[in-house]
Structure formats: C-alpha cells, structure tokens
Symmetry: C2
C-alpha cells in the first residue's frame, strides 16, 4: 500500500458489477420470461441494453437534463421499451414489476460475501451505489451482503461520479474524506471518489460485461491507492 491503511475507518462499495454480477443474473431472468412467452432472442443483448438505460439515465440526471428519478424508475422505463422491442407481450403490470425487480435479486460475485464479512470485522462497510436504498436493501437480503449501512446517490439527490455523492456519504458517516475508501471495478467511479478526497481501491471484474469483453477495465493508473482481483485478496491487503 502506498498509504497508511490505519487511517481508513470505513469502506464504501460500488455495487453493480463490483459486488454483484448484474449481467448473468439479468440475462437469466429475462431469458426465463422470454421462454415463458415463447420468444427467442439474444438475452445478453437485452441485459446490456437494459443496463445502458440506467447508465444514460443517471448521467442525464447528474447533468441536469432530466429531473430526479430512482434506479427503479429508470429500469422500468427502459424495460417497457425493451419488452416492446423484443416482442415480449402479454405480461401483466405485476409481472412486469416483478421482472423490473430482477435488479433487486442480483447474485454476488463468488468472493463478495466472504470478503465483505472479513472487512466488516475491522471497518465500517457500506454501499455507495447509484441504486436506490430499497433496491440495495432487498439485494443485500437476497445475496446475504452484510452491510453496516446502505448509502446511495439517492441520499445526495444526484448520481456518482458527482462529488456530492461521495461527500454526502462521508458526512453521514461523520468522518473525514481521507478516512473513507471507495472501492469499485470502474475507474471513473474511483476518480470521482478521489476528487472528493476519498481513498480508492480497485477490484478487477474482467467478466462484468461477459467473458473476455474488452469493456472491462483491468489496469489501474497511479492515482489508485490499492487494487486486488477480488474482495478476499483485498481484505488481506487491508489487514484482515
């Protein structure tokens, strides 16, 4: 480590892609609904396009181009479009809502629960996601994620990487920015955290966008304080 680990009191975690494997979980759920409706399609493409709606939505809110919307609302908006585009008709509103909540049922990466549990023995651990609080709470129940606290862009009224989100988390924890470390598989998120004064830890998730996809980041730059290939290795680096 290039810094004194003992200065860190809390770790906050990006969630989608970093702690949970959204693409496999979403692909599985939409494929199951497709099979039930008798529709054949590239369900990984469905998952990627659904995810893209969320990425665009958080960017538009952050940049002031759209009023506040939660992740649940963005997911539903894009889901309605995609169901139509993929010819998936006949779902009731209740069934569509259940499918929309597939984002509440994402499975953790295999190392996540063990790594977080170890980190929790020494640090405060919390989400710091653009997902809304209810989504993150339900996901933690689903996957057994042992958060001490659920923090979200929702509590700052905007989205990462706006510095307001990181500073809101620091303030709610009653800490100084340098006492909090942001961990994520995405450099833009870590750069946002660093710009707000937080420590940064990179976790490589090479298969986030599919096995072998070039979209995953695997190389960090010098600005990142620590990096690891999973949360068990990261916990070891953090002294637990």
């Amino acid at each position: 480590m290039s810094f004194d680990v003992s200065t860190v009191k809390a770790l906050v975690f990006d969630v989608f892609g970093t702690v949970v494997d959204w693409r496999s979980s979403i692909t599985r759920e939409v494929a199951a609904v497709g099979a039930r409706l008798g529709v054949e399609a590239d369900w990984e493409e469905f998952a990627d396009r659904w995810r893209a709606g969320y990425s665009e939505g958080t960017r538009d809110v952050r940049e002031g181009d759209r009023p506040w919307m939660t992740a649940d609302e963005m997911h539903r908006e894009r889901l309605d479009l995609l169901l139509d585009k993929f010819g998936m008709t006949g779902l009731s509103d209740k069934e569509t809502d259940h499918l929309n909540r597939a984002w509440h049922r994402l499975d953790p990466w295999p190392d996540a629960v063990e790594g977080l549990t170890r980190l929790k023995s020494k640090y405060v651990i919390g989400t710091l996601s653009n997902g809304n609080v209810g989504l993150l709470v339900n996901m933690a129940k689903h996957g057994g994620l042992p958060w001490d606290v659920v923090l979200s862009g929702q509590l700052a009224g905007t989205y990462k990487p706006d510095p307001k989100v990181y500073l809101s988390a620091v303030s709610l924890l009653g800490l100084e920015p340098g006492e909090v470390m942001m961990t994520a598989a995405h450099l833009h998120d870590l750069h946002g955290g660093a710009a707000a004064g937080l420590r940064t830890g990179f976790i490589a998730r090479p298969n986030e966008f599919g096995v072998g996809s070039a979209k995953a980041e695997t190389v960090v730059d010098d600005s990142i304080d620590a990096s690891a290939s999973n949360y068990i290795e990261f916990a070891e680096k953090m002294g637990v």
Copy 2:
C-alpha cells in the same frame, strides 16, 4: 394481532431507550470520567440532564426554532454546559469528544440482539432514530445490532415525531406506509408513525429512566397495533 401481520414487510425501530439502555451506559461513562477527575456527583442526574438537552434540541429543530443540528452536535453542546456545571474541568478537546461519543457506545437491552436477529430472518429491519447516521452505525458495531438499513431523521432533515421522518423512511424503502411498522417504547413516537400511516408496535421498557421511575410508559392505548415486553416476545408475535 388486530391486523394481518403478513402485510408488514419492514420494521423500523426507535433506538434510544427502545433498543439500547442509554441511561445505564451514559451514567457509567460519566461516572468513570468523574472518578478520574476526582469529582463526586449524582451521575444519573448528569445522564438525565444530558439526555434532556437532546430532547429539547430535536424539539427546537422540529419546530423551526433552531437550524438543523445533528444529535452529536446537540450532545456536545449540552455536554460542555454540564461539564462546567458539575465542575469537571481539565478534559482535552479529544477527551471531551470521546466522552461525547459515549452515545455511540450504548449497550443494547438484553433481549435486543436475539430479538432483532429473529425479526431480520423474515423482515427488513432498520433504525428510525433521531440519532445521526454515523452515531447509529457506530452503535450497531459496538452492540452487534444486525440492522439491514440505518434510517434517521437526518435523512429527512427534521426529527420525529414529524410525519416527514416516517414518510422518508417508507419512501427510501420503496414501500407503502402500511407495509412498515414503527416500534418504540414511547407512545408519542408511535402516534407520529400512525399519523403517517405506519403500523405500530410498543415495546415496554419500564427501567429506561431508572428502576421504578414513573416516567416510563407501560400501558398502551387502543391505537397501537401490537405490544410486547421485549423483542423476543415481539418476534414471536410477528411469527418468527
């Protein structure tokens, strides 16, 4: 139960006095500091007057008579006054801050961890306290309180029993008011929750203000949905 328990999805908990025994913990910590400084006094009275500063502070903020302050800030303001009044001089700022954080180190009532753990197996469980988030997170680490989510008046910018606080919790959880049950040892808190449409559960804490104190409420009125003498009994009533 006078209602269908299966409609409840989340339980939110008052914390000071309901889940943790603030008076014994605070009395013990201030007595230890007093002994170190060679001061003799009625430390239960000190604890009660410290607690009163917080109660008055949250009321003044709620009624718009003071700008926003966190529980930590109110505790520190009153602590400085009381240290002076009790002739406790010579503490460094760091020592005073540590004493102020005695409110982060309150011990749970003996039934709390077991009762909450049982309730967590079926329901989302979260704080809904006027304490600030950082205080509640540190207290959970200290006492092993297994919250799924830490909700606070701080997230609504005002204090219970303002309906905004209960409705903020409901909204962050993504639920309807009737799907959330407020539990507390204090009727004014439950009446505030009920006014916002929440279900209500009373937990008797006859010794909150000292053994045999008439200040503790022990009898509920007809508006309360459920009551129990501790969280283990309450968990049984809630079907877990």
